[in-house]
Subunit: 475 residues, 2 copies
């Protein structure tokens, strides 16, 4: 693998992003327009994300299942906003089994409508509630400007769908899922996010309220990392999903839905990567430690590998004979392996190992006489912490304010940061902002301060402000 | 849950099968014709199968990845047999993103053609070989007569695709995968299968040779549990997948593909289930042990639950207050939970537990003074062994021979067993057999005996026999 270093300056984010994904062998555009092929290394990262988040979703009480790939077109069109929102993006099967279908089938862009059809049959009484379902699957939303992981016509995701007896319980579900996603991004991806409500313009087609956790990329464009929707009775009224309560009365159920997708990998690449390539947080790295034997140390390296593997570390031994150590360093740095262990003859003779930290570049010597497995685990934890600290520091310093409308326009257009501003909370105002700056509200944060809003006017239209909002362009 | 016992006689397999799947809450037909909804309990079984087989596939050296859901129609049509074989079953996307597509896209019925397109770009030299890829995904083959798990228009599966430098290596890959599948069925599903080659008529569209592991159901219809294809150069020539060998010469790669699907769950249901419902082999049971407290023993039961869970057993505590113990027994028997532990006040006072074996119905008392965790693990292993022994005994006793053509027809039509017979190995003869009996060859077993073939004529056409073959109807 030959990597030209000049192709990897993070200053040019778009080019850098493509290069890292190509050179770390993560994914590529497929011959099918807008769809991607996720290669083994990219897919191993997705498996890590999926396995860890799946544990949290199961612990939360949702059960995995599998609903059909296809949705009858008539289902999608029952909810007016929903069909309007998704129509421009859908792929439609018109022929199957050698015949034209009586009713076209939509390849699911999201599964609310087909899942609610099942819920209608499964929910009878309050004893069946809450009902919390989840599926890991592929969905299709036709994409004119595909970007690997961030926007592709087909993508992998998980979608949770829940039904509750009361609004309060459904709102509680939303609050819990926001926390689960927020903590997952923080604890596993080492990415701090901003929790908040989506504006009317940006909310999910058919939802009463939508919420998101938003991550900020180094070029000050945002990535919506996860979304959580309070659907109220909108969908249950249409699909006729009712339950009999404890008093024998029939009521509609309150619903939510929530999801994260393979775009998380795109954010992971951008937030942590550097001019040497990918940097993976140890908790999600398919390979946490790579061991590189130098000289006549293969037996020693193999024993070390066995010990680390037995202790639950995800470790790789790169014993290739036809690749020089320097080239191996370069390659594993590109792949973002958090720790590289070099074992040369000096290390062998002194019964020690040399550990290189992918984030700081520091090298430390660890003696094999002591509890070196624990020391390596500590080193991995340090790296995980460092990544989160760096990203948190970067996010804090990137939240900026604008003096006036002109300053707002400049800061948005120049991508100077995530602009926090007073806002009127009106859809038409946001449409105007989008038209003039290319930006939307990212979300309206939960931690807004009433004081901040006092005597504050909308940064754009000048009316009395109703909300604090974050603005930036987005992936 | 109320279950009418008379609906569960295994003598009427078709009705029994539907009832078990419905009452054990495993899956149901979806409103989309031919597609199924896999419910949480059915999906948990699929997750167990997937996780265990995935480990074996990774150990075998194949790497997981994700290829697009859609395949350009032109790709599929490059291989003549391939497109002829799959055309009647494909679903076609003609419109996407609000426009008619220039070229229709096929929803993948299998991914050879799109994966080979990538292999062409990824393989340069002998150093890139062997290349072993696998994906767990959904595929679509339009089905006129859907049956839950066994035949559905959309199904979940894994498909492995490999490329090799020589025919010998590719044949070796086929042999290894046959063994991996055979052992997986035996060791995890507790289902003995017959390894063999598919006939010309029954082989995969586009393969040089196809192989299968076939399971026999209690009604003497077969289920093809896994297939393994030697593709030779058929697809590499068409997709132009070449490599430069050690001498610098350019050659086509030799290919294989192999897969198993959610139909394994259908076989699992039929082979092990009984008149009480589902019976799950402990190695794949989402719940291996259910604890039922009776009377004032909840604390005791909870402690037991904690200990068993900490020791890696998949255990459930059914502490519902509004359901009587007898109803719980009935329900967990229906769900096929291998071991039920009853803890009443007598058990509490004697510091012991009562364990009911789902397969034999036997109840044994285990003292909590001894190593009861190990005793429970032994009990689960016993159950796993018993299921395999029973199924092996059943398979052996179901392999029968026919005296003559008339006897052959009767035995096949009456589903008296898996008929082993001498056969001419000609496609036209098989077409005639199919037309008159509704049966095909299942496969041509590896363990055929030359002696058996000596002086043996085809059971159907009377010509000199060339092979021993197994015949039966199939799901």
């Amino acid at each position: 693998m030959s990597v030209k270093k000049e192709l990897l300056s993070k200053d040019n984010m778009a080019e850098w992003y493509q290069n890292v994904i190509a050179k770390a062998n993560m994914a590529e555009h497929s011959p099918v327009k807008g769809c991607m092929t996720i290669k083994p290394y990219g897919y191993a990262i997705w498996e890590m994300i999926r396995n860890e988040l799946d544990k949290l979703i199961k612990k939360h009480g949702a059960k995995n299942m599998s609903f059909p790939l296809f949705i009858p077109y008539s289902y999608l069109s029952r909810e007016k906003d929903h069909v309007e929102g998704f129509s421009p993006e859908i792929a439609v099967v018109t022929h199957a089994g050698g015949k034209k279908l009586q009713e076209p089938l939509v390849v699911r862009p999201t599964s609310e409508t087909i899942i609610h059809e099942s819920m209608k049959r499964w929910i009878r009484s309050y004893k069946d509630l809450p009902l919390k379902l989840n599926q890991w699957c592929n969905v299709v939303r036709w994409e004119k400007h595909p970007r690997l992981f961030l926007r592709t016509s087909e993508f992998q995701w998980q979608e949770g769908h829940t039904a509750h007896a009361t609004e309060q319980e459904a709102r509680q579900e939303v609050a819990e899922m926001i926390e689960i996603y927020y903590n997952f991004m923080k604890d596993f991806l080492a990415i701090p996010t901003i929790k908040g409500q989506k504006s009317e313009k940006e909310k999910f087609a058919g939802a009463v309220d939508s919420y998101s956790v938003e991550g900020l990329m180094p070029d000050n464009k945002a990535v919506q990392m996860g979304t959580i929707h309070y659907l109220g009775l909108n969908f249950s009224r249409i699909a006729d999903v009712k339950f009999v309560d404890e008093k024998g009365a029939e009521n509609f159920v309150y619903m939510t839905s929530w999801g994260v997708s393979t775009r998380l990998i795109g954010a992971l690449v951008m937030v942590h990567g550097d001019d040497k390539g990918l940097v993976l947080p140890p908790r999600l790295a398919p390979t946490q430690i790579v061991i590189i034997p130098i000289g006549n140390t293969l037996d020693f390296a193999q024993k070390l590998f066995n010990t680390l593997e037995q202790n639950g570390l995800r470790v790789e031994l790169d014993a290739r004979q036809d690749v020089r150590p320097g080239a191996k360093y370069f390659e594993h740095e590109m792949r973002g392996v958090p720790v590289r262990i070099e074992v040369g003859e000096r290390e062998l003779n002194n019964n020690q190992i040399m550990c290189a930290n992918r984030v700081t570049g520091e090298k430390t010597t660890i003696s094999l006489e002591g509890d070196y497995v624990q020391e390596l685990k500590n080193l991995l934890q340090d790296i995980q912490n460092t990544l989160l600290q760096n990203a948190t520091q970067k996010l804090k310093s990137s939240i900026i304010e604008a003096k006036d409308k002109e300053d707002f326009i400049n800061k948005i257009k120049n991508q100077e940061g995530l602009v926090k501003a007073c806002w009127c909370n009106e859809k038409e105002c946001e449409l105007s902002i989008k038209e003039h700056t290319g930006a939307n509200t990212r979300n309206l944060p939960f931690d807004e301060n009433e004081k901040e809003l006092k005597d504050c006017n909308c940064i754009w239209c000048g009316k009395k402000a109703k909300k604090i909002a974050y603005f930036s362009k987005a992936y």
